[in-house]
Amino acid sequence: MQFMLLFSRQGKLRLQKWYVPLSDKEKKKITRELVQTVLARKPKMCSFLEWRDLKIVYKRYASLYFCCAIEDQDNELITLEIIHRYVELLDKYFGSVCELDIIFNFEKAYFILDEFLLGGEAQETSKKNVLKAIEQADLLQEVSHHEACIAPSGNAFLTQHSSFLIHEPTLNSHILITRNMCS
């Protein structure tokens, strides 16, 4: 896979993952043109199109278009499955995912994608394993966040940042997995 784009029906970009080195200008141009092309397609048309020298595979889920650019020797039908698997992962993680989830938690969407694909290829074919890895990483993030907050002087400094810990900074307090990192 060369790149994956997620965009709304109005053409707003929600996620862009590039697996080939291109300048910012080129990326913008490609994005603009491709979004236009895909949005112009009628609903009954097939999910594949040829664009420049790439094969484009796209699918619409609710208000979001998932669009991948693959190479000549790649299998279009399995790419549809890859897209579907990613949507399933997002769905499991966010619980009935919708576009807003991806807007407000875009960095999570990237983290999940990076646990599923690497360099444009699938690294893990088990849904369970991808979600487990994300879960563990989130946990690690909580801990390190927590630790950093305590470490300097162990005072109410942390209440400004953490949205979950209240005022008793103890390492033993039960850490809930929330979705509000870096907030």
């Binding site: 970009l13 279009e76 360099g119 699938a122």
Partner: protein
């Protein structure tokens, strides 16, 4: 300083903006805040700020000032920081900026981190955007991780290795040892990524491919894994709609394809499993079809037995009937790839393919069209053409050009009868006339010329089409040309194929003149009609009308038209005796090249490409073998003499014109209505016609010779090889005079045997001064494709002391090097 606002809050705020300007304002404000925060080197909030920056970057705003901050985040010890830092690096940095190299050390450290998730981040970033330098530096670390027992890291390392190999192919070797037992893993993630790695290595290096085939016995291993996947029961972890790990199955099939290509043993080893997959895979969902698709691709690419191939094509045939248009599309694409090799098998599905022409989807229609053309043959031409013409009528404009060309090609190859062929052409011209490619016009004209018995029918149909519609230029051009040629058949009502129409000469001229004045006609079309009108001057009786039209256009603004009109005028006035010969019916033309770039003959500005293409091929023998030709003697037109004349029925007077644009000639307007005079096209005619000898030095080693020496007139030949074409010898004649009187009006003529072709360029002068005070030089070019011995007969005429002298001689003593 208040804490920077949270990411979610920023997102919320920005989304409330009602206009682009409002949003920009918010963004700028926030960017300013972030910038100052960066300046303060605030460690606590850096992560939050970079995250916000990434959001704004996605909206399209510049975020390059955050690049270094990403690096600082990566270097931090907090996992949160690293996570955002690496994400930022992947989004904001790319290998073009030197900044990215600063990451290398951080990544190196993180690759050896105690926490696997940190290692994972590093591997992911490296595998996604690592530059060649980074890859070179870190390949060793990646290789180490490829051998770890931690499957979480191992699978990532494998894909990272793929990226390293893509960036720095020379490093492929170092990963070889680590691949040894990759396939014995149980973990599907590792298996999948290992197969990807092996695929990459095999694709890149034939040596690797051989190694894996022979030494590692990869094929049996892969077959075993695939078999387990298919045979094993339900595995909840990897199940997709009842199929076990389709992603892995597809990748294995792809690797098998590469291993089995052009290798009998490997292909045989995988035959069974391929058959099994092809027959047992559930096809109700996309997943199953994805696997079948890959299987079909593999079967077609390896050396599979014919039964398996037929199975594959049948799968594709079933795909064509699938409701899912994606499947249909994929089937058509695959069939297109296989139609050359398995033509008969694909033919069986022809009707389904033709039905796809009516599909609503543009991509499917295009594929179906391409495939349909590939399937046309002598047996199905009538039926197929009906469908394709129907398609041409109703398809989108983007298809029309290709479809029209395809129809012409197919018709040319398989036309069952001439009448059918002409009818098909007519249909295309009238329905898609404006989309037809430019080179179709000359091709069609040539075709029409060759169907001698259909001339009357053709011209009649074309005329009727013109009456209906003059907007489609290719149609109009072909029609005008035909009317010009066969107008006499039109008015005499000779059509046999259909009811002859009654039309008078005036009506025909009305139509042609109408084309000249119409706004719809392009300049090229106007050129065609003017020439057509001119031709009719020898076929119709209303010459005066034609003369009038031609003279009017002598002052046309269009230079092309003007030139033609002036020349035709001259034809009427000064050269009327030549007119009938020049405007004679065109002979049957042989095709010189199919759809290739045409050699445009420079004919004093005449660039009617249709005509230039219809020059008979070089193969036509010169029939004036040993006779000397009638030539235009010298005069004001530089004599360029063709000895190879086309098989023209006895040209009245047989005076040829110099049609080759020796544009430096100042001689009077040599009328050159090319339509009637066809000239053979030896390839060298187009370059550098000048009166100077083209080469002044003799070719190495070919000695000069005396061709003629009598009565004081000596003619010497010197030789040269023409560089671009070794079959051409360039001979320069030097005529000198040892007598005490000049030889004036000197003309040198030459003829060569049938297998040669001769071109004589203009002489330096026509006076041979007395007493060797100077000589005349003239260049002869001889084309000798069969490398036969050169013989020449020459004729000399000159005036000596008031009396005309004429002599004939044979020149046989050519040195062998001149013609070998």
């Amino acid at each position: 300083m208040p804490a920077p606002i949270r990411l979610r809050e920023l997102i919320r705020t920005i989304r409330t903006a009602r206009t682009q300007a409002e949003e920009r304002e918010m963004i700028q404000k926030e960017c300013a805040a972030i910038r100052s925060s960066f300046r303060e080197e605030d460690n606590t909030y850096r992560c939050r700020n970079v995250a916000k920056l990434l959001y704004m970057h996605m909206l399209g705003y510049p975020a390059h000032f955050g690049q270094l901050e990403c690096l600082k985040l990566i270097a931090s010890q907090k996992f949160t920081d690293k996570r955002i830092g690496y994400l930022g690096a992947m989004l904001l940095l790319d290998e073009r900026q030197d900044v990215h190299l600063l990451m290398t050390n951080c990544i190196k450290n993180d690759l050896n981190h105690s926490t696997q998730y940190v290692q994972g981040l590093a591997l992911c970033t490296l595998g996604c955007m690592g530059s060649s330098e980074m890859c070179r530096d870190l390949a060793g670390e990646v290789e180490k991780l490829l051998k770890t027992s931690n499957s979480y890291l191992r699978k990532k390392a494998a894909l990272c290795a793929v990226h390293v190999i893509r960036k720095v192919p020379e490093l492929m070797e170092m990963f070889l040892p680590a691949t040894k037992n990759l396939l014995s893993e149980k973990n599907h993630g590792v298996l999948h990524t290992s197969v990807v790695l092996l695929t990459e290595m095999c694709e890149r290096s034939p040596d690797m491919l051989t190694h894996f085939r022979k030494n590692e016995k990869l094929v049996p291993q892969l077959v075993r894994i695939l078999k387990n996947l298919i045979m094993s029961g339900y595995s909840p972890e990897h199940d997709v709609s009842g199929i076990s790990d389709p992603f892995l199955q597809v990748r294995i099939l792809r690797l098998l394809r590469i291993l089995g290509k052009s290798d009998d043993d490997s292909s045989e080893a995988m035959n069974d499993i391929l058959a099994q997959v092809a027959t047992n895979t559930e096809t109700s969902k996309n997943v199953g079809n994805a696997i079948l698709y890959e299987t079909v691709l593999t079967i077609m690419d390896i050396k599979s037995e014919s039964g398996l191939r037929v199975l594959a094509i049948n799968i594709l045939g079933r795909f064509l009937l699938n409701n899912d248009k994606n499947i249909r599309y994929v089937a058509l694409t695959s069939l297109l790839k296989t139609v050359q090799t398995d033509h008969n098998a694909v033919q069986r599905h022809r009707s389904t393919i033709v039905d796809c022409l009516k599909d609503l989807d543009v991509s499917i229609k295009r594929r179906a069209m391409e495939l349909s053309f590939a399937l046309v043959n002598g047996n199905n031409i009538r039926g197929m053409m009906k469908e394709l013409l129907y398609f041409l009528d109703s398809c989108d404009p983007e298809f029309k050009a290709d479809c029209a060309s395809g129809v012409f090609l197919a018709a040319e190859k398989y036309a069952p009868s001439k009448r059918w062929h002409i009818d098909t052409i007519m249909r295309v011209l009238t329905t898609a006339g404006s989309y037809v490619r430019d080179d179709s016009v000359p091709n069609l004209i040539q075709l029409i010329t060759n169907s001698v018995e259909m001339h009357a029918y053709t011209v009649q149909r074309l005329y009727k089409a013109l009456l209906d519609d003059i907007s489609q230029q290719p149609l109009v051009q072909v029609a005008s040309w035909c009317i010009g040629e066969y107008g006499d058949l039109l008015v005499s009502g000779q059509c046999e194929e259909e009811e002859p129409i009654q039309v008078t000469e005036d009506e025909v001229l009305d139509v042609l003149e109408g084309l000249l004045v119409s706004n719809l006609s392009t300049p090229v079309t106007r050129g065609y009609s003017l020439t057509a009108i001119m031709k009719l001057s020898t076929r119709f009786s209303s010459v005066n009308r034609i003369k009038k039209v031609v003279s009017i256009y002598g002052s046309s603004i269009d230079v092309e038209l003007q030139q033609r009109a002036v020349e035709y005028n001259a034809l009427f006035k000064k050269y009327d005796h030549m007119r009938p010969a020049l405007l004679e019916r065109m002979p049957i033309m042989e095709k010189t090249a199919t759809n290739g770039p045409t050699e445009i003959v420079q004919t004093n500005g005449e660039t009617e490409s249709s005509d230039s293409k219809h020059m008979p091929s070089i193969a036509q023998p010169a029939n004036q073998a040993n006779d000397l030709l009638d030539l235009l003697g010298g005069h004001d037109v530089g004599p360029v003499i063709q000895t190879a004349l086309p098989t023209k029925p006895a040209s009245a007077g047989g005076e040829l014109l110099d049609l080759l644009g020796d544009l430096s000639l100042s001689g009077g307007p040599a009328p050159s209505p090319t339509p009637s005079v066809t000239i053979s096209q030896p390839p060298f005619l187009l370059d550098g016609l000048s009166s100077q000898p083209l080469f002044n030095d003799t070719a190495a080693g070919i000695p000069p010779m005396t061709a003629y020496n009598k009565n004081g007139l000596k003619i010497e030949f010197t030789f040269e090889r023409s560089n671009p074409n070794p079959n051409i010898s360039v001979i320069t004649i030097h005529a000198s005079n040892t007598t005490e009187a000049d030889m004036t009006d000197f003309v040198f003529q030459a003829a060569v045997p049938k297998t040669f072709q001769l071109q004589l360029l203009s002489p330096s002068s026509n006076v041979v001064p007395a007493l060797n005070q100077g000589n005349i030089t003239q260049v002869i070019r001889v084309l000798n494709p069969q490398k036969q011995q050169l013989r020449m007969r020459i004729k000399l005429t000159y005036t000596y002391k008031g009396a005309p002298v004429q002599d004939l001689a044979e020149v046989n003593n050519f040195p062998p090097q001149s013609w070998q």
